[in-house]
């Protein structure tokens, strides 16, 4: 059996967790293995998405100390569950939480962990993991020698299963009340501070509208925000030059010292395309770049490159998009 850790945010199951479940259940089928989900804490309203994405059963861990995420406690309860049910592999979505929790669990289990896997291959019955390294400048294929296998899967890479809810039979729910065996010191989340207007992170967005040095000033990022309000599930990205100029927060930075992203569409405005920026975004499914300089390196990776002044192109683009999306 394979186990997939399911993460929630404000009671809702995270899409990246569902992607992880979908992909691992597709691969598990090839090996004739079952996939189970594990959820921690009581506030899960609806488990249907788990059955839809391929879970056959769900372990539901409940207990007083489990309502709020703490890496120390969550690693401990997962460790105990793993000792009981002995899964062959445990998967996490490579989110902020997954990347925080999985290594702690790996150290407890004394096993290797694959971070940020973008492909799982089954070759002669054994599992191979593929992941970008050097910020996407190279791809590493590896095999794990310790069990259970542990991996985090990069968000936005793996497709969800498109099956209608009513065609899915609910799986088995196994509730476990965990008496906590952890009395070490813990880090406790006491508050979540939202960034104003930024609902979606660049790592989770389906469309990224990104600005670089060519944006010229902080207030010009409003042009991109206006485009973003037109496009569903879009987020604002930025190059290092824009972030270092103080025009926008570093959490928007795409590239080697920022985030590596793989949206369906990457719209780059005034970004020349340094090596380190390209490393972070060239995995995007479609890239459209607008830049004044016809020699800009970004045009080498763009599916559509538009040579021109972004300040002249954005206003009519907004109108065209509005028309197209209204239809």
């Amino acid at each position: 059996m394979w186990l997939v850790f399911i993460e929630k945010r404000e009671g809702k199951i995270k899409k990246s967790s569902l992607e992880t479940l979908a992909e691992t259940s597709r691969r598990a089928e090839e090996l004739d293995l079952e996939v189970a989900a594990v959820v921690v804490g009581s506030s899960f309203e609806n488990l249907t998405p788990l059955w839809v994405q391929g879970a056959k059963k769900t372990y539901w861990l409940k207990g007083e100390d489990l309502e709020v995420y703490s890496p120390e406690i969550y690693a401990q309860v997962l460790y105990e569950l793993i000792q009981q049910i002995k899964p062959e592999a445990v998967f996490f979505a490579g989110t902020a939480l997954g990347r925080d929790l999985a290594p702690r669990l790996a150290a407890k289990l004394r096993v290797a962990l694959v971070s940020d896997c973008t492909r799982i291959i089954i070759s002669n019955g054994s599992l191979l993991f593929v992941r970008p390294v050097y910020a996407g400048k190279a791809l590493l294929t590896l095999k794990l020698k310790t069990k259970p296998f542990l991996a985090t899967l990069r968000p936005n890479v793996f497709p969800l299963k498109e099956i209608k809810d009513e065609n899915i039979a609910p799986g088995e729910i196994i509730e476990k009340t965990i008496g906590l065996n952890y009395n070490g010191p813990v880090a406790k989340v006491v508050e979540i501070v939202r960034e104003e207007g930024a609902e979606l992170d660049v790592t989770e967005a389906e469309v990224i509208i990104s600005g670089g040095r060519g944006m010229k000033a902080a207030e010009n990022f409003n042009l991109l925000r206006e485009l973003s309000t037109l496009i569903p599930r879009s987020a604002i990205g930025a190059s290092r030059a824009a972030v270092d100029s103080g025009w926008i927060g570093h959490q928007h930075q795409v590239g080697q010292t920022g985030k590596t992203v793989c949206p369906n569409l990457y719209l780059a405005f005034g970004i020349s395309g340094s090596i380190q920026h390209l490393a972070g975004m060239s995995g995007s499914k479609v890239i459209v770049a607008v830049n004044k300089d016809p020699e800009a390196p970004i045009f080498k990776v763009a599916d559509l490159g538009v040579v021109g002044d972004l300040f002249q192109i954005i206003p009519p683009l907004k109108e065209e998009l509005r028309k197209a999306l209204a239809e």
Binding site: A107, R110, V133, A135, A138, V189, Q256, N264, G305
Partner: protein
């Protein structure tokens, strides 16, 4: 405060990577190496904490002897001491080996530490594993990807970056913190610092003298191959009046890319 900072020597982030013929690693020859960018924020934060509260900053690197260069840089920035855990093994992309070395070192030589600081991930392996693994091996709390840190007495408050928001996390010392860009603006080395750093001795401890148990040191991953990612073929480039360019972008997104 007794502050320990862990840094890694990595290829310059602006450099082009070449794959070694055996497909097991990169060609190091001709590459410029630097301190991993996020580690600089960790060094800076430790220096600021020392300046505010007194104490000592020790910078530690696990790696080859060439890494002495980045340790000198940290001394020149103002660290009090530096130490190299010499490990000649090539990049294994595994976190646990390094984490075990660090945990052993801390237990043996720095039992009275207050804070362990790391970069949120190293450039290259891009794992973001070692800080959490060290925290687990030492049984202390962790806060990763931190953009703001406040220490008051034996308690800390850290703001950690998550998707589209920050988590405010409280913890007690000793603890592990990993730094994200935004935590601070790292200082440059001063000439005086560089001169002083040259005179300092940097102790070298071979990794196998740390008494790390075999199950940590045996490789847990097998590298099948390292390769260049498939190159994206360049698309079409257009140069049109703004209105027509805008129309063409929307037409492309709609008819060719089928995104909107």
């Amino acid at each position: 405060m007794n502050l320990l900072v862990f840094v890694k020597r990595v290829p310059d982030t602006e450099s082009k990577i070449r794959i070694a013929p055996d497909g097991q690693g990169i060609v190091e020859e001709g590459l410029n190496f630097i301190i991993s960018p996020y580690d600089e924020y960790a060094v800076e934060e430790a220096l600021r904490l020392r300046e505010a509260k007194g104490g000592k900053v020790t910078v530690v690197c696990v790696g080859k002897e060439e890494a002495l260069l980045i340790l000198r840089k940290c001394l020149a920035m103002g660290a009090d001491e530096a130490l190299l855990i010499k490990d000649s093994a090539p990049e294994s992309f595994e976190g646990l080996r390094v984490a075990a070395a660090i945990a052993s070192l801390v237990k043996q030589r720095f039992p009275n530490f207050d804070l362990l600081l790391f970069g949120k991930q190293s450039f290259g392996a891009d794992n973001a594993q070692v800080p959490a693994m060290v925290a687990e091996l030492l049984g202390i709390p962790q806060v990763n990807v931190v953009v703001k840190l406040i220490i008051e007495g034996r308690n800390g408050v850290a703001y950690r970056e998550i998707e589209g928001a920050l988590e405010k996390v409280v913890f007690s010392l000793p603890a592990v913190i990993s730094a994200q860009k935004g935590l601070n603006e790292p200082r440059y080395e001063t000439l005086k610092g560089i001169m002083a750093a040259k005179k300092k001795e940097i102790p070298i401890i071979p990794i196998d003298e740390l008494g790390i148990s075999e199950d940590f040191l045996t490789p847990k991953m097998e590298i099948i191959k390292l390769e260049m990612p498939p190159t994206k073929k360049a698309g079409r480039i257009i140069q049109l009046p703004p209105e027509e360019a805008a129309k063409e972008i929307v037409r492309f997104l709609r008819e060719e890319a089928k995104i909107i």
